[in-house]
């Protein structure tokens, strides 16, 4: 979707003649049942139901692929808030997508510790290899909290590293085939660096 077709963003002029969007009417807003019950159970777990905004948007993004106007309207309807209040939230957080994106997120950490070990080159290589494949959402990301496996990336939430440019084809193939991504390089399987920890 082009920027012009997307009704959001600081740089776009607001239509001041239009009435402000109200809380979507439950009678006319269809919400998938699974999404509705997930949002309602999130709302019930906080003293103030509005605290559920982030988990609710995350759930809607899982259903719709991004925080589309339709996704926002559905969350707003269930939570009983205006779409604008959720728009404000969605545009603040890096993991909430306000444009359509590929299904598989590839966050490549390019912050200081990773870049000292070649993250910028890695990011360029992944971008180039995934270029033209609409299944991927490749992004340079701020510190992901895994500098011990620098340079690294998070593939749909799975941390892998240290990566070399030679790992890139395998990485993308694993995602395409729905396999466990680079099993030998997953952070979750790594031992603590401190020798005292296993003593």
């Amino acid at each position: 979707m082009s920027a012009a077709a997307s009704p959001r963003g600081w740089d776009l002029p607001a239509d001041l003649d239009k009435d402000p969007a109200r809380i979507p009417d439950p009678a006319t807003t269809a919400v998938p049942q699974g999404l509705r019950s997930e949002i309602e159970s999130q709302m019930a777990s906080y003293p103030d139901a509005r605290s559920a905004a982030l988990p609710a948007l995350e759930a809607a993004q899982r259903v719709h692929g991004w925080c589309s106007p339709e996704a926002i309207a559905q969350v707003a309807c269930v939570m009983g808030v205006t779409p604008a209040s959720l728009d404000a939230v969605a545009t603040f957080y890096d993991m909430l997508e306000t444009e359509p994106v590929g299904e598989h997120s590839v966050y490549v950490c390019t912050n200081i510790s990773c870049s000292l070990r070649g993250a910028d080159e890695l990011h360029a290589a992944i971008r180039a290899a995934a270029d033209g494949d609409p299944a991927f959402n490749v992004r340079a990301f701020e510190c992901l909290g895994a500098c011990d496996i620098a340079p690294m990336a998070s593939i749909d939430g799975v941390y892998v590293g240290p990566l070399t440019i030679a790992d890139v084809p395998q990485l993308l193939d694993d995602v395409r085939a729905g396999r466990d991504v680079l099993p030998d390089k997953q952070l979750i399987r790594r031992s603590c660096a401190d020798p005292e920890a296993s003593a």
């Binding site: 000292l116 990301f141 909290g145 939430g157």
Partner: protein
């Protein structure tokens, strides 16, 4: 030194309740519930434990700031570990989540809170899943919920996932985010201890701080205080990364020479390279140089050396990297993460990036370096939170300590750059 937090942390299944209990897990909670809340608080105060998230504030004192009485009070664990270079809480939550949950329950008992949250950064998907599973086990075992282990103390606990914003690690930004809003920091005072989550008194502690609590109850505060130095007691998890041969998390006793961490534990820079500069406490800390390697690694010694222990994240940069590259990475990060609420931070981080780019493309003069330094001075202390300061401090320190290199880079790039059209020769 015997490891406290990292004690056999790679034991298979330690993330499950059965294994954690088999090695004495939740015994500290049982002991704490036999004591009075004030008795627990006294142990925390006696331990001298200082917050492990960045500010290093005395944990016991923080608990004691919460008003007494039957108010709606909250305990929030800050697990939004986003400071560049920091990854210690990740290892704790992934491998020994029950240690955090046990510490959190004990702290809630001391503070008199019945409602608690763990705010974990959204990127830690696997760790949040592990925490959720551990929490379900703890609930089933009666450690979390109504009348814990038959005592008068009750506690609810929710694992709340963020969605990617550095500023949500700032405690008031975190509170707004937890209330379902943009993570903008709040004006202080009122401090969260008086008016925090949902306007109620709120205690906010880092993961490592809370995970240390069971050990303090087990050993007694006085015994714990014998570790480390007089004003920096105990052990500390240090995340070390960048140009070292064995990056990772290490548990150290506070006060050991920094050189021991960088060289003996992490193996130092690759062969043939030397340390150019290092961040002792995340990318927000002013950089130190090779001359500072013998500074003891504790809160006060690092402050005296002109930097800070921060989150306990050492980032080592060796002599192969231009200082301008380091400055650019740091400035771009804070510019991206500034929430935009305060002008000095929003504009200052952006202009610093642009001035660094001018240096790199040969359009800068030495005066620009003065302007850049003055921008840093004008950010510090002039915003609601310290995000802007967190850029200004390291950038300011780089300009002060590597001025010659900045000037040489500037001159080199200026000579290479094409003369602007119409310029007078």
């Amino acid at each position: 030194m015997k490891a406290l937090l990292f004690d056999r942390i790679d034991e298979p299944g330690l993330n499950t309740l059965a294994v954690y209990e088999s090695r004495g897990g939740y015994q500290s909670l049982r002991r704490a519930l036999q004591m009075t809340p004030d008795g627990v608080l006294k142990e925390l105060e006696a331990s001298g434990l200082r917050g492990r998230g960045g500010a290093g504030f005395a944990m016991g004192k923080k608990v004691s700031f919460l008003p007494h009485g039957s108010l709606e009070k909250y305990l929030v664990c800050n697990a939004d570990e986003s400071e560049p270079g920091t990854f210690k809480d990740r290892e704790l939550m992934q491998k020994t989540p029950h240690m955090l949950i046990e510490g959190l329950i004990i702290a809630s008992y001391a503070a008199g809170t019945a409602c608690s949250f763990i705010y974990i950064r959204g990127e830690y998907v696997q760790q949040a899943d592990i925490l959720d599973a551990a929490l379900a086990e703890a609930r089933d075992a009666g450690y979390v919920g109504e009348r814990i282990l038959g005592s008068e103390h009750s506690l609810s606990l929710v694992v709340h996932r963020g969605a990617g914003a550095y500023i949500c690690g700032e405690e008031t930004g975190l509170l707004d985010s937890l209330e379902g809003k943009r993570g903008n920091p709040r004006l202080k005072p009122p401090f969260p201890a008086n008016q925090g989550l949902y306007q109620g008194p709120t205690l906010i502690n880092n993961v490592e701080t809370l995970a240390t609590v069971p050990a303090i109850i087990r050993m007694s505060g006085a015994e714990y205080a014998k570790l480390g130095t007089e004003t920096s007691t105990g052990t500390k998890l240090v995340s070390i990364s960048g140009h070292v041969q064995r990056p990772g998390n290490y548990e150290i006793e506070l006060g050991i020479p920094s050189r021991e961490i960088i060289y003996d534990l992490a193996g130092g820079p690759p062969d043939g390279r030397t340390v150019k500069c290092w961040f002792p406490g995340g990318s927000s800390a002013p950089v130190l140089t090779a001359e500072d390697l013998d500074v003891p690694y504790d809160f006060d010694s690092l402050a005296k050396a002109g930097s800070m222990l921060g989150s306990g994240a050492i980032i080592v940069v060796d002599d192969s990297t231009p200082i301008l590259d380091v400055a650019m990475k740091v400035a771009k990060f804070y510019s991206h993460e500034s929430c935009g609420k305060c002008t000095p931070c929003r504009e200052g981080t952006n202009w610093t990036v642009r001035m660094l780019e001018r240096i790199d493309c040969g359009k800068a003069s030495p005066m620009d370096l003065e302007i850049m330094a003055s921008v840093q001075d004008h950010i510090i202390g002039h915003c609601l939170c310290v995000l802007g300061d967190a850029m200004a401090m390291p950038i300011g320190s780089m300009i002060a300590k590597f001025r010659d290199e900045f000037e040489a880079h500037m001159e080199h790039q200026r000579l290479r750059a094409p003369a602007p059209s119409g310029a007078v020769a």
